[in-house]
Amino acid sequence: MPDDSPAIEVRDLVKTYAGVTAVNKVGFTVARGEILGFLGPNGAGKSTTMRILTGYLPATSGMVNVCGLSVATHGDEVKKFIGYMPENNPLPDDMRVSEYLHYRGRLKGLARAKLSIRLDEVLELCDLKRVRHRIIGKLSKGFRQRVGIAEAILAEPPIIIMDEPTIGLDPHQILIVRDLIAGLRGRMTVIISSHILPEIEMTCDRVLIINQGRVVAQGTPADLRREVFGHSSYALEISGDLEAALPEVLAKVEPTLAISETGVPDATGFRKLTLATSREDDLGEALLRALSADPRLRLRALTRVHPTLEDVFLAATKRGWEAIDAPKPTSK
């Protein structure tokens, strides 16, 4: 494995299923040790891309390199580099946890002596010690998911690919799985897919948003916020002369500041407002000073609102739709 090559390199990847294009010219690189989040609505092509990365499905065209080796020509070697948990985490129902992991370890080429040590480590890491002799088919969803993760990391491959590892779990189990994934940081390159954002935002170094088989945005969660919104916003709780005094004060602080949302007044007369501006830097202090200095306004709260990745996702996939709906260059 050449050491300077990125863990995964994908260029112009296309996959068509009997005429339906599932992945359309996708390209990205994943550095070693990076945790990449694959984000997209259902049917975006996440699973298809992952299956091609693991060598399970052949690509229609394009280049996929894993640790510098082409998946198309070195399929067998590439499989050794990847620990893969498919969508819905398929497991045999009639085996015991330790039996299953032992079998998988043997298939992955671990020697018997090494395997039993590693098995204990992995069971400990995934908190599966208590259920090691239980039948997999009778385990709860959270345990099954951890068996899948244990299986993926069993042979200590340099790359872990997990397709929707947190789907169908309750918030507590999601937390456990998220911690497990975060624990791999730095040791392994990890790709996880999801259509649920918060866990991607928390665990991933970089996010790739795909929609309808195309990459619509990529970058760190912070980059994406900036790229897709290009502005920041502030939430206030305020009362007083909002018609005349407020716009006047705002214009003095920053001309691009505008009221984007107005709430209804509550029992004490205060209402929630959202301000939007194209300024990147923090205007919080200036706003606070100006608003509290004006006797016509009473300010109770002021915070800078960080757009969630959810908003980024919506904006990015919507942009994807528009790009597909209107292929002609838009005259905006």
């Binding site: 693991t54 399970y56 067998d76 893969y84 498919p86 398929p90 298939l107 080429g109």
Partner: protein, 253 residues
């Protein structure tokens, strides 16, 4: 072929913990016992020309037709249905290893079940005073035939299993192919029109692949290498088709 033994021992274990294997085994032994005692019943009434073993193996197709589908229908279709085929094939193992491992496991179980009918002959030997009842030649010939033809039949079942994600469909498909191979060809070879001059080549071909003729030859102690070759090449062909079946399904999925 590094993982062949790993997969073989895994598959054997899975067959041995599976309830349907025991159902199949009990059905098989019950049926074979029934047939065997029926055959002996005939012998007790009147002396017959052929030995009980010959008659017993004449009926080998009854268990084959339902045993082989039962043993093999799950092999690949169940993995496909559960999605574990994806985890299996993304591990560093080749499709060939997977197919051969599963094939060997099913075949060994098939052999084991047939071998257990040896108990009938043992009991007969132990309690029947008449040595004519236990003719060693036809018995060994019969078992040899079952072992060799089983290579092919189990491969057919595996191939059927690679085609569908539904094990019932795979089982019925295996049954149909086996029925055509064993009964259909025998019937075709016996048709009146096969005696015509113009049909001579077809008749010769059918006679060459006719299972019951192979069985007769084996029972009489004749081991024709062409017949052995027929079953061996048939098995290899079916195994190649199974491997292709799995890979082509992925290519065109």
């Amino acid at each position: 072929m590094k993982h062949f033994l790993t997969i073989l021992s895994h598959e054997l274990r899975m067959l041995l913990v599976n309830a349907s294997t025991y159902v199949a085994a009990v059905l098989f032994l019950a049926l074979m016992g029934f047939i065997f005692s029926g055959v002996l019943d005939n012998y007790s009434k009147a002396a017959q020309e052929t030995s009980p073993a010959t008659v017993f193996f004449q009926l080998f197709w009854i268990p084959v037709l339902f045993m082989v589908p039962l043993l093999t229908m799950k092999c690949i279709s169940e993995e496909r249905r559960l999605g574990t085929l994806e985890t299996l094939l993304t591990a560093p193992v080749s499709t060939t290893e997977v197919v051969l491992g599963k094939y060997a496991a099913s075949y060994l179980l098939y052999l084991f079940l047939w071998a257990s009918t040896g108990g009938f002959f043992f009991i007969l030997h132990r309690f029947a005073q008449d040595p004519r009842l236990l003719d060693f030649g036809p018995m060994m010939g019969g078992y040899l035939f079952v072992a060799i033809s089983g290579l092919f039949y189990v491969a057919v079942g595996l191939f059927a299993s690679s085609l569908s994600r539904n094990q019932a469909v795979a089982g019925i498909l295996a049954f149909s192919i086996l029925f055509t191979l064993i009964i259909g060809l025998n019937y075709a070879a016996g048709l009146e029109m096969m005696n015509r001059e113009s049909m001579q080549p077809v008749h010769a071909l059918l006679e060459y692949v006719r299972t019951f003729r192979h069985l007769d030859d084996f029972s009489q102690g004749i081991v024709d290498t062409r017949q052995v070759l027929f079953y061996l090449s048939g098995s290899v062909l079916m195994l190649i088709f199974s491997i292709l079946g799995i890979e082509v399904k992925l290519l065109h999925s």
